[in-house]
Subunit: 547 residues, 2 copies
């Protein structure tokens, strides 16, 4: 027996409709790529999204067509979010920070039919346009006064396209599981793979994002997403803000400390979200100029782990609560959010800090579990760590066009590739990447914990730990160290320093001093390269064991 | 093209699973019907809900079977919410405050196969049990020590049933549109009609309830729903609290000021919800004993309009924010929530009050519009008022077994039967019931506004306005007044008092002094009876017009 409730599909256009109908005067403020501040309302944003949908229709765009964007966080990009998906086409946010050949690969793989591009990236697109196989035209996201001289073929001016269209457009109705947007994840091996979101998953994810235990967005917030709209839907903020009628402040291309600070102060921003690097620039700028952010109540830090010192500065110096969040492109992206329990909230700050440094607590809609290599679930005791698996309303079940094959374990769990602990209150802490954990005699050693311990030594600039083959234990840790300029330190010094800070059997079997530790484009340690570098190396303890 | 996201149905068992898995130590505290305080955790609640599901299975209950409850807000009733719906059966919450013959009608109409009953209502059930056509057995919600002597046939003891069962139970998977619960609405005409909720609508409604612009529930809250679990799902709190891991405090049968106050104070309740009558008892108790509620941050008032004086007392005397909410059983029930905008929040309290007295702002997931009698949409300007129509993810599309026929207008809008204004910021204000509005010469006069104006006169104890036939204007208002004991007042006094307070053409054509104004069981003015009483009455102005 089915319940007697109205049929209404969970479609993305309902978000902008809600904002326009019931928060129609609320502002969206953009620092444009052209320079000046642009200011309009949700009612305007819907009208223009509808004009865009009409323009796309005129260009022949149909349900399911992929429309690429190479764009910053602006009101025009927001209009693409609603105009493209609202029409039933697929918004494909390309990451302009990738190498040009990666962008070409991704746009061709996605078979993008049009690409919307900010002025900044016109030169990039000019260089690669002949390699783009499926692209029928390029739309430059500016007005006619700012249209550049360009070698781009089949080029359109965004504002001219819109100006020709009516603001009347009836959003089409279709299955809520219809693809709405596409975002490629680079990963560390193989080609980039596309995560294809649904209307349904996006709306459900927005609900979760608004919850008080996640981002806690409300109509009283002014939200500045520093996290780019080309990166996992700006962590969902471009959808969640209209869902609750929050004011949106979009920073465009200028993410330096002064630009972000000025916009936050001028627009009385209450909440923001971004990666640690951006916050470092902001904090430095504020420190240098003796500034504060009285309107700001909280900020979300994700993308990589937030250093404890950054959390402390935000909270104790600027009275800004840090929400340490974790997720993946494959998770839409939100999985956990570092909102404290009532009991923890009442502790002195330094006692809260270890909890704030965790990756956060599981939000409703996402399931997490940890398992050993035999797929046995491990206890949620905050101590046991294992492969982190996830399942839920907005978790991928496979990549676009079947890349990477079946990605779900039995029971439909998606393997995050992380190793983590879970505790009774829903806190998750990542202890390592699965491929980096050192498996010694059937027990696991966290490479990250070892690195963090070594980084505590005053002479160590950077540390990286990899597992090296060992005849008796399978693998044992090798600690690679870059010393600080002018500092002198020996293996024995390091071992003595670590002694007592970590379990005895976690002690590295050797320490190697290197000039440099290899990094990925996004600044993470590239352990594959490091392992390659040490492929012929033998641990001193391997000799002993073999004797 | 469909998105590539995991298939996961929106089922009610996911709520208790989430709470048990990630907030497993959070408490549910009940003042039991037997007397003592009962205390356990979400992990315990899930275990026992599973035992209940096993017990129901053993009793032969199958997908779609209706299971009645006649019960207060207790942990056992909560277990029914999850055990019954989780199994795929339909939780039918019967309202014990109805007349016994109504309860019989409803239980028979729903074809309840079992009824779960609190000790309080055993005598009631004993009296009517022979009239219940479909009931196979009764479960008394207590332990064996408290089992009463009873004439009930096929009677079971709740705790004995559970004790016999395993805590292992695999929740079945089924279509998310499957019926989950059933609640009858009495209305003012015809038989009670059943609203049949879905798993999907219930989960979506819970998401909305948790949002900061609705009830703003979080894991840091301790929630005491005074609103009964037999009344529109306790406004969704029995589902929303587990969704965010909030502590639940369940008051059982004792809703007097002292009982509610003690529980709030002892359990450090931060948020509550109920009808004005309950709050009046609580406020009186606090006033008499000079008490406060330092942990309480907000309370939801709904069911009927909250008097301004009550809002003022909560906010200015006790520092408890009032969230004035509006909805209907047919709406799951939440439609609007009186959370202020940032701009209003910054006004002095007395300037906020008119906004707080409105029915609240539209929440995402619900659409509201107002129309005239020709179905033309009216402007959202805060002035125009018309028939209030709604549409959305958790709005009924028809009553159980087709009672009342087609209830949707074209475009799938459900007519609430209210007359209201909407404004640009999403505020809705009910100005009247559609059947009570006075249609004078094609224009509408709000009976409620007239009543409120008349109630301002110091000699008036109660006022009611009905429309009376008028040969020229179709209808004109008649004001009926009950004077306060010992007060003397004339028609002319009243008219003089109203003059200038309302539009000239709204002035009642006559004032009649009556001994009593008829009320419904829930305390609302029964205008049908009043109209019946005045059916032979002729307005003095009708004579003039006819002359």
């Amino acid at each position: 027996m089915l319940g007697l409730i109205q049929e209404k599909q969970l479609l993305i256009h309902t978000l902008i409709d809600y904002a326009a109908d019931y928060h129609g005067r609320t502002e969206i403020v953009t620092r444009t790529v052209e320079g000046p501040i642009h200011r309009y309302t949700y009612a305007d944003a819907r009208q223009r999204s509808k004009q865009l949908a009409n323009a796309l229709t005129r260009l022949g765009v149909k349900l399911g067509d992929r429309i690429g964007t190479l764009a910053w966080n602006t009101h025009r990009h927001l209009e693409c979010y609603y105009g493209v998906s609202g029409l039933g086409a697929v918004l494909h946010t390309l990451n302009p920070r990738l190498f040009p050949e990666q962008i070409v690969y991704i746009a061709n793989h996605a078979e993008d039919s049009y690409i919307f591009v900010d002025l900044t990236f016109v030169p990039l697109l000019e260089k690669v346009q002949d390699e783009l196989k499926s692209v029928k035209g390029i739309v430059v996201m500016t007005d006619s006064a700012h249209m550049p001289q360009t070698t781009l073929k089949n080029v359109h001016c965004y504002e001219d396209l819109l100006a020709a269209e009516s603001t009347e457009f009836e959003w089409p109705e279709f299955d809520e599981k219809t693809a709405s947007s596409l975002c490629y994840t680079s990963g560390t091996t193989g080609n980039p793979k596309g995560v294809l979101y649904q209307h349904r998953s996006t709306v459900l994810h927005s609900f979760a994002a608004c919850m008080g235990d996640c981002l806690g967005l409300t109509s009283r917030d002014a939200v500045l997403p520093v996290v780019p709209m080309f990166h996992a839907n700006a962590w969902g903020l471009a959808y969640a803000a209209p869902m609750c009628g929050a004011k949106l402040v979009l920073p465009g291309k200028d993410l330096d400390g002064k630009s972000v600070y000025d916009l936050m102060a001028d627009e009385k921003v209450t909440m923001s979200a971004g990666v640690p690097t951006v916050w470092l620039m902001l904090l430095n700028y504020m420190e240098e100029h003796g500034l504060g952010l009285p309107d700001m109540s909280r900020t979300v830090i994700g993308g990589s782990a937030a250093p404890a010192s950054m959390i402390r500065t935000f909270e104790t110096k600027y009275d800004v609560t840090v929400i340490h969040a974790w997720g993946m492109t494959e998770m839409s992206p939100l999985g956990t959010s570092g909102v404290m329990t009532k009991a923890i909230e009442q502790l002195p700050f330094e006692e809260q800090l270890p909890y704030k440094a965790k990756q956060g607590r599981v939000i409703y809609g996402v399931e997490l579990k940890i398992t050993d290599d035999e797929d046995n679930e491990l206890p949620r005791d905050g101590v046991a760590f294992g492969n982190l698996l996830t399942r839920g309303y907005w978790i991928t079940n496979g990549y676009f066009k079947g890349e990477g094959g079946n990605v779900l374990d039995n029971g439909n769990w998606f393997n995050t590739g992380d190793v983590a602990t879970l505790d009774e209150d829903g806190f998750m802490t990542i202890t390592d990447r699965a491929k980096d954990v050192i498996k010694s005699g059937g027990e696991w050693i966290s490479s990250i914990d070892l690195e963090n311990a070594a980084m505590g030594h005053p002479a160590v600039a950077e540390a990286a730990v990899i597992g090296i083959f060992h005849p008796k234990w399978d693998e044992r840790p090798l600690l690679c160290i870059v010393t600080k300029a002018g500092k002198d330190v020996s293996k024995d010094d390091i071992m003595a320093f670590l002694d007592g800070k970590i379990a005895k059997w976690w002690m590295p079997d050797d320490v190697q001093f290197v000039d440099e530790i290899p990094h990925t484009a996004t600044g993470k340690i590239q352990k594959t390269t490091l392992r390659e570098q040490f492929k012929d190396y033998t641990l001193p303890t391997a000799q002993t064991a073999a004797d």
